[in-house]
């Protein structure tokens, strides 16, 4: 028995059939097969609905209301229209999903480090890409959005580090959207390949000109070989009318460390999903995030951690502030496989509700099949502390500013761990701008 596909799902499949011959690397038979298989997987369920356990709290029906445009917008973007570079490192720029070498900067950073667009590498070195793309199981039926991305897999970034390579200053990736009424469909696929003992910090920013609107469905596939260390930091500030889905799938080998941080504040509906597999002893993951939502936004943070070997560790802290009628979703699944003794899994989710109509759905999900396991999880929801509010106001600080201070203080637990890095400054800047948005409105009115 097959379910009837939604109209939107059918649109995706029709466009796939139409465009597949023109997608990057379409002439590579192995890639065509991955795409075809992924499309077939997507066909089974189509766009997920709340009937799927995994999508119970986040409804993508907002997609149905978007006018989806698959062609690239002719965008005239100059370097001076983009946000300033964050630091001294290289920067890769994608405008409306297209890699722009002319806007990118200092990509040659040393022996053993490759920074490139996926499309460029598919023509220059397909043999390098093939096993990495083939390996990630787009066909798992539980992940229809990843499968949809797999069918299109448009151009994305590739960061490949040879053994022992050290990228030095953080690598910045900017996904910039131009303004437009219709929603541009962008489905980049990115690869981070870290060979043994290599290291890099990657800052990924998703943002756009004032009224930009997108359906973004990205995927990043990451492998860390033994002893590698990758810091992967993302800021999701897409335009207000956007639907954003991003899936990160990371495989972590012995003694390798993967640190993820996601600041989510953009889009009408957004889901940032991180799936990590801790594959060998000593593998370590840190998954942190901040979500900031107002209006009728829905921001979903979903994580899945699989402890597949003994003595692996995952520390996870997600915190957020919600205003208006905004809703956030936190789903944290931890699976400890048989034999994964010595697993250490810590998960915490705390939310500050700034209005009576804001809401959080938090769902920890633990499946533990090993005996010697240290596993702790907790979730709290609270309002602004009235006593602290009065204390601040009694010191002359007006209401909106006092609220901002308390929100920043609440989120500080997540940001303080980052010390003084460029990314920490970036996050604090976004948090400050978010809490200050009320002050600006007030000043403009008054």
């Amino acid at each position: 028995m097959t379910m009837a596909l939604s109209e939107t799902s059918q649109v995706f499949l029709d466009r796939y059939a139409e465009l597949r011959g023109r997608l990057a690397g379409a002439d590579l038979p192995w890639l065509a097969k991955i795409r075809e298989d992924a499309a077939n997987t997507f066909r089974v369920t189509g766009v997920p609905t709340p009937r799927m356990e995994d999508w119970k709290y986040t409804n993508l029906k907002a997609l149905d209301a978007l006018e989806l445009v698959f062609a690239a917008r002719p965008a005239e973007v100059r370097a001076d229209m983009l946000p300033a570079k964050l630091g001294d490192g290289p920067r890769l720029v994608f405008v409306d999903g297209r890699f722009r070498a002319d806007l990118s900067d200092s990509l040659e950073i040393g022996e053993g480090i490759r920074l490139a667009s996926l499309a460029d590498l598919l023509s220059a070195d397909p043999g390098f890409i093939e096993p990495r793309l083939a390996d990630f199981g787009d066909n798992a039926t539980g992940a229809p959005m990843l499968a949809l991305n797999g069918a299109f897999q448009e151009d994305g970034y590739v960061i490949a580090l040879d053994a022992n390579a050290d990228a030095g200053a953080a690598i910045e990736i900017l996904f910039w959207d131009t303004a437009g009424e219709a929603a541009a469909v962008r489905q980049p696929r990115n690869l981070i390949v870290a060979a043994a003992n290599s290291r890099a910090e990657i800052i990924e920013r998703h943002m756009g000109a004032g009224s930009s609107r997108q359906f973004f469905n990205g995927a990043t596939l990451i492998t860390l070989d033994a002893g590698a260390a990758i810091g992967h930091y993302r800021v999701q500030s897409q335009g207000a009318g956007s639907v954003h889905v991003n899936t990160i799938r990371t495989r972590i080998e012995a003694d390798a460390r993967y640190e993820s941080f996601i600041l989510a504040e953009g889009g009408e509906v957004a889901r940032d999903e991180v799936q990590v597999g801790l594959m060998a002893a000593g593998a370590y993951a840190r998954l942190d995030g901040i979500y900031l939502a107002d209006g009728a936004q829905v921001l979903d943070s979903t994580t899945t951690t699989r402890h597949a070997a003994p003595n692996t560790t995952c520390q996870e802290t997600y915190k957020g502030a919600l205003d208006g009628t905004a809703r956030a979703v936190f789903q944290g699944a931890i699976r400890v496989e048989p034999g994964a003794d010595g697993t250490d899994a810590q998960m915490s989710n705390k939310t500050l509700l700034l209005s009576d109509d804001a809401e959080i759905d938090t769902k920890p999900q633990l499946e533990i099949y090993a005996d010697e396991v240290k596993c702790a999880h907790g979730a709290t929801t609270g309002e602004l502390d009235a006593e602290a509010m009065f204390y601040l106001r009694s010191r002359g600080i007006p209401e909106v500013e006092a609220r901002g201070i308390l929100v920043e203080g609440f989120l500080d637990e997540v940001t303080e761990a980052m010390d003084d890095t460029p990314f920490a400054h970036l996050v604090r800047g976004h948090v400050a701008a978010w809490v200050g948005r009320g002050v600006k409105e007030k000043e403009m009115k008054g």
């Binding site: 502390d385 009235a386 006593e387 602290a388 009065f390 204390y391 601040l392 106001r393 009694s394 010191r395 002359g396 600080i397 007006p398 209401e399 500013e401 006092a402 201070i405 308390l406 920043e408 203080g409 609440f410 989120l411 500080d412 637990e413 303080e416």
Partner: protein
């Protein structure tokens, strides 16, 4: 400076203040003593503008303005300061940042320019030294993990930074060791001046050795039942409040 007339206030429908009359002139220091639960902190909160206290009768005038119409932050801008009996912990907000934000908010209210980071630092360092507050405390989150005495010193530091015209000190002496009491007492006294008045709530006349009051009041069961000069504090310490509580009951 401050004129309170026939002030009645309720909390959760319960009347706590039952007709307080109190007038403090420019540069005067008044002390309020009284048994536990008599309404001293309630009075200080009503003056400072805390939510949840309903004024059912009476008025408070501060330098000619109707205080009860103002938000708590406006009152601070007008020159009012409350040192809390129980200072509040604010995780994630550094004491230094808090002081700076608060000083600049008050300066902005008063139409003064904001201090830049350097000038502010100089200004604060001058105040902290006298109060025995370390740089380390300034870096830590507001009152988080501070000892009882450190919290009280932090209140006095805020007062020194904000330079109010009327300071209400609610049991700023409780929880202090002998040396800290002297430091705080001297710190507060050094802020005395012809334009600065104080309302000092305390249970012990020791503090009043440092901050010598012009008038001492006894608050019992929501009313000021007796006023006198500083010798009244000594008398109360000796005799207790039995006379007032039984008389009013």
């Amino acid at each position: 400076m401050l004129e309170i007339k026939n002030l009645h206030a309720t909390v959760d429908g319960k009347e706590i203040l039952r007709g307080v009359d109190l007038t403090i002139g420019d540069g005067e220091v008044h002390a309020i003593m009284g048994p536990n639960g008599s309404g001293k902190s309630t009075l200080s909160y009503v003056i400072a503008g805390r939510d949840g206290y309903a004024v059912t009768e009476g008025s408070i005038t501060f330098n000619g303005k109707n205080l009860l119409e103002m938000e708590a932050d406006e009152r601070a801008g007008e020159g009012l300061f409350l040192a809390f009996q129980y200072p509040v912990e604010i995780p994630g907000v550094s004491t230094m940042n808090f002081l700076k934000t608060s000083l600049n908010a008050v300066r902005k209210y008063r139409g003064e320019s904001e201090l830049d980071a350097m000038d502010f630092l100089k200004f604060v360092r001058a105040q902290t030294k006298a109060l025995g507050i370390t740089e380390d405390m300034l870096k830590r989150a507001v009152n988080v993990g501070f000892s009882g005495g450190e919290k009280k010193r932090n209140e006095v530091l805020q007062m020194a930074v904000l330079r109010p015209t009327l300071a209400v000190l609610d049991e700023t002496d409780s929880g202090l060791d002998v040396d800290a009491l002297r430091i705080v007492g001297e710190g507060v006294t050094s802020l005395r001046g012809p334009d600065r008045s104080m309302l000092v709530i305390t249970h012990y006349q020791r503090l009043l050795d440092y901050i010598v009051p012009d008038v001492v009041h006894v608050l019992a069961q929501g009313r000021i039942v007796r006023s006198g000069d500083k010798s009244l504090a000594l008398e109360l310490e000796e005799k207790g409040y039995a006379e007032f509580t039984s008389a009013a009951a």
